[in-house]
Symmetry: C2
Subunit: 149 residues, 2 copies
Amino acid sequence: MQYYDDLEIGDTKEFGEYEVTKAEIVEFAERYDPQPFHTDEDAASESAFGELVASGWHTASICMRLLVEGTLEEQAAMGARGVDELRWKRPVTPGDVLSVRTEVLDKRVSESDPRRGYVDTLLEGRNQHDEVVISWIGLGMIERRSPDG
Amino acid sequence: MQYYDDLEIGDTKEFGEYEVTKAEIVEFAERYDPQPFHTDEDAASESAFGELVASGWHTASICMRLLVEGTLEEQAAMGARGVDELRWKRPVTPGDVLSVRTEVLDKRVSESDPRRGYVDTLLEGRNQHDEVVISWIGLGMIERRSPDG
């Protein structure tokens, strides 16, 4: 198990592989983001995108899945306060295969609770052409190995 | 249909009602955010949360659904570049009923394409006790009614 004390600023990791199907794009969008360019191929072809594209929240959720499997499962993670600078940089379309790269940007011990630490992590989601399709800075919380550091 | 030209800084709107069930919390989390405090009631009771809580990405996706139904469906929306200051302020638990409040913070015409405008919108998701559970600033794009303004 990895704790706050085991993470260093500058640590990077690359992991994951997730193929995004047309069926999943439409299923997610019909439930959570029913805009025509996410749910309807014909409407999407007449939109500014020109083709069916995944909801940005779907792309984020897929990267979260990869993050949990690739990192958080082996960490004493305590959830996140939020995310800064979430950006959808390129469309995600059916058949794209996503992977994730993370980099620890900052870490500090909580002033109110010395048993936890804050870790800010840049996440980049990339497609099979190594193009960044999404990025964000996660504001995570993680347990300390010992309160004395 | 509402265009860039119809939106004013300071415009506010409140809308939506979405009951978050335990089944949906677990279903979303098993697929996209399989951390124990999102997927397993027993594990959640031993976590810092003390009970099963929705994935933050699930809460965001539910608010997106309300946003599409309450606003975007009647707008010439062209998607979003991203989101700033996404914050999960309180846990969302089974039985919570979410609604949404939006406020237009800023608007400006695109310099590269006078047919589109940028609109920054604060979104707050609230529970049935009127407590803010999530907030973000959406960086949206929307068509102009006419390029001459």
